[in-house]
Subunit: 505 residues, 2 copies
């Protein structure tokens, strides 16, 4: 059923979009909201426009029409326009369906994701959408549809060759395996276009750390060029518009600080699908201070990841590890970059745990992609690493991204203000608190302050004498160091137990 | 575990609230959001402040402190402040609980409603809250807790005497029984402080219609005075801050255009609880074009209303009626006011259906409150009406609210531009479309244009000759009338069937 309004010219131009404005109360009456679309008919012209509403600028009974539309259709002031309703946003119907317990179809998910990306629905509606998945967790089929919809609404990276990836679920300080795995893999001819995030709650993300060695912000075009030449890259994902719906969903999930695992799966897999990944290894640490609490949950998630990948033709393997302390000795961009260089250049003070974990992940990916026989992946990766081939590949990335390919671990500049934490008693280190390390590195200014961070002189399980140096703090300024030292006074990084070394709680 | 930041003075003063500002990224790192509260400690001073965040005004490592706080605690630029986390907003935990299928306690609902009213949680969180009640409908106990929480967070109207009320679930044009029921009831010594809403989607609410006769906007204080003197009033509810949480919940429910019945129950009952109502009659029309679709749903809702009322010591009775056409002959503020005056003053052209329905509601309420014996309520109401007592009471309201108590139906000013709709064929009126009537009256300018509207010359079930006058449209201006006539061309108000009078679909 149409309704009728008087045309009124508005002196605004919107460019590509066709905009009309209605009186807010009148729009409300007809069940129309800002952002809804409506069809207009006049003098044999039909067109569809997006509705804006106003309390005061347009009276009830009038329809304000932007000047570009006005001129296009040769409208006259006060002429009567016939307004036709369009079907209500499909996404709203889909969200209601899910809230009432029905499963969603592929078309439903497409409608929701499309409306999220085009901003036809906003935070309130997205919150309803997120909320609907708590009581009615997604089936495998729904997870597939949603992932597909998120992947297809955004940029797609189409690269020649076999594209592979590794991904860490996150939450462990210093876990910079990516910067070692990527050059190893790229040496074998597989394509690994690694786009990483910056840190949100940790002292450094892969993008922050790589940025110590070279710029990381590029357009999708430039990234493609680097990858086509070097088989890989280590860049910031923010420049590529992969899966933009995901960012909006994450933002709305934040107030509850509570992400269903399925949202995380969609988030990870949609970007892989959009990048045409064929083989994927996922690093999934479990433990008290990270996202996945226990082995049971990790196994269940791993299985769902594998099943979801299969539907997209992606072979997935998951490496589950226990996270009890940071990986490597440095925490903070510069210190982590130094650890990475030590491993790639095989220098002294090489953090063996970081090397070992990187080789495991690389080996797993090589076997998965058929580059190495079963059981031989780690050896193959080790050969590439120890021969210096991996470092030469990394140096090529650094040069391609505009950094200094001749950098050595000793060239990495650390914060000039230092502070040492010493053992208060003799004994064995029975606990290293990841969360405290994060807090202290944040207090020191990481990740914005690249040269700030913490170096672990001692590790979990080591015996120490009273007065031994446990860790070294680096800051750019005295005041930053003061904040960190204050934090240290209240929170322990290391728990040292006397024999028989039982951890006190 | 505390953390530490450097104090930085900000040249803002917030008045009653204690505000600090954090760098957005840093706040994010600590899991803090704008509106969260945090404890600060410095030089032996402890205080709690509300967090604002900023991308650019405050650097990470600093805490911006508003100048009033700064002076109160004698802070110095750059001094180190110890920041302590407060427990996470209880309401967030409650919302999460409900989303995961647990029932909420009285404390939970209080936390949620309190955080809604104080704006500690915003539209996104409220959307999660609303969403949680779809998959897990409230139990009677939950409904009680929520109603109580909504009622107690806002103003309370404490009046001497036995407070009663009538309430219409709404959706039927012309249904102005309230303006007849209230004066009848007030004549018996019962207290009936009627606060009504303005129209949102209909051509006139009770407040819009009463406004034709007298002003309706008063403070709670002034309303109390009128009620204490006259036992009743007919005012707009917007001036009294009863159940403010309800408005915020309704706003967030709007995008889904889908209100769970339970939200409606809370909405209605919370305001009765806050007004100390003891006896309540609810007018519940059912039908194709109104909120409640069928008898089964209506009976279920009626029972829940009665049970919910019982918990608050409110006796509730529900009158279920079928809504097939408007009540009364006028639609639009002035035309509805004229109908009301005709009934109260018992003049010619009195709309008998409006009179009958009003007497039923008033009778029911008189019996419920013990003023009339069972089966005698309608007669008692009729005596009060036909004797002129009810009109004298209404005249007293009109005078007290600042209107003209000598007004007659003929004094009511109607729109000067008229249009008649005539029957296109001879036959019987088998359908009157409520929704079309609403649309046409809106097109005519109601309810903002008080003198606009439609008068039904013929009613459902009447036989008409071709060319007979079916209804009369009133508008203030020609252009308004043009819009309505255009609407009429496409939508039928009346469906006329030839014998054997079978409605065509």
């Amino acid at each position: 059923m149409p309704f009728y309004l008087r045309a009124k010219k508005i002196d605004y131009t919107a460019g590509k979009e066709s905009i009309i404005a209605l009186n807010q109360k009148e729009a409300w009456h007809y069940g129309l909201r800002p952002g809804d679309k409506i069809a207009l008919e006049t003098n044999g012209n039909h067109f569809i426009a997006i509705i804006n509403t106003t309390k005061t600028r347009i009276n009830a009974g009038d329809v304000g029409i932007y000047s570009d539309l006005w001129d296009r259709y040769g409208l006259r002031e006060g002429e009567i326009i016939e307004m036709h309703f369009l079907k209500r946003a499909e996404s709203i119907e889909a969200i209601k369906k899910k809230l009432l317990g029905e499963s969603l179809t592929e078309k439903d998910f497409n409608a929701v994701v499309n409306d999220i990306v085009t901003e036809r629905i906003g935070p309130t509606e997205i919150a309803y959408f997120v909320a609907s998945s708590f009581p009615y967790p997604y089936t495998d089929r729904e997870l597939y549809y949603l992932t597909k919809a998120v992947a297809s609404h955004g940029e797609q990276l189409h690269l020649r060759g076999t594209v592979v990836d590794k991904h860490s679920v996150g939450g462990v300080a210093g876990n910079r395996t990516t910067m070692i795995v990527v050059p190893i893999i790229a040496c074998t001819g597989l394509i690994i276009p690694k786009t990483s995030s910056r840190a949100i709650t940790s002292p450094a993300g892969t993008a922050d750390t790589m940025e110590v060695l070279a710029p990381v912000s590029f357009t999708a075009e430039k990234i493609k060029k680097i990858v086509q030449k070097h088989k890989g890259c280590l860049v910031w994902g923010g420049g590529v518009n992969l899966a933009p719906a995901d960012d909006k969903i994450i933002k709305v999930s934040y107030p509850l600080s509570f992400e269903p695992y399925e949202k995380m799966m969609v988030s990870i897999m949609a970007k892989k699908v959009a990048s045409d990944v064929k083989y994927l290894v996922i690093d999934m640490p479990i433990g008290e201070f990270v996202k996945i609490p226990d082995m049971r949950t990790a196994r269940m998630l791993a299985q769902r990841f594998v099943r979801l990948g299969k539907k997209f033709g992606i072979k997935v393997r998951v490496l589950i590890t226990r996270a009890k302390e940071p990986v490597g000795r440095g925490v903070g961009p510069a210190l982590e970059a130094r650890d990475v260089l030590r491993v790639l250049q095989q220098t002294e003070h090489l953090p063996t745990d970081l090397e070992k974990k990187s080789l495991m992940l690389a080996g797993m990916l090589l076997e998965l992609a058929g580059k190495a026989k079963k059981g031989k992946g780690v050896n193959m990766a080790r050969t590439i690493l120890t021969s210096g081939t991996a470092w030469r590949k990394m140096a090529a990335f650094i040069r391609a991204q505009g950094g200094n390919p001749k950098i050595t671990p000793d060239d990495v500049i650390l914060g000039p203000v230092k502070h040492y934490l010493e053992a208060q008693q003799t004994g064995k280190i029975v606990e290293v608190n990841n969360r405290t390390i994060n807090d202290i590195c944040r207090a020191l200014g990481a990740p914005e302050e690249k040269l700030a961070g913490m170096y672990l002189n001692k590790r979990l399980g080591q015996r120490v004498q009273k007065g031994a140096r446990l860790c070294t703090l680096y800051a750019a300024t005295d005041t930053r160091m003061k904040l960190a030292v204050k934090t240290l006074e209240k929170q322990a990084v290391f728990t040292i137990a006397r024999a028989p070394y039982i951890k006190k709680r």
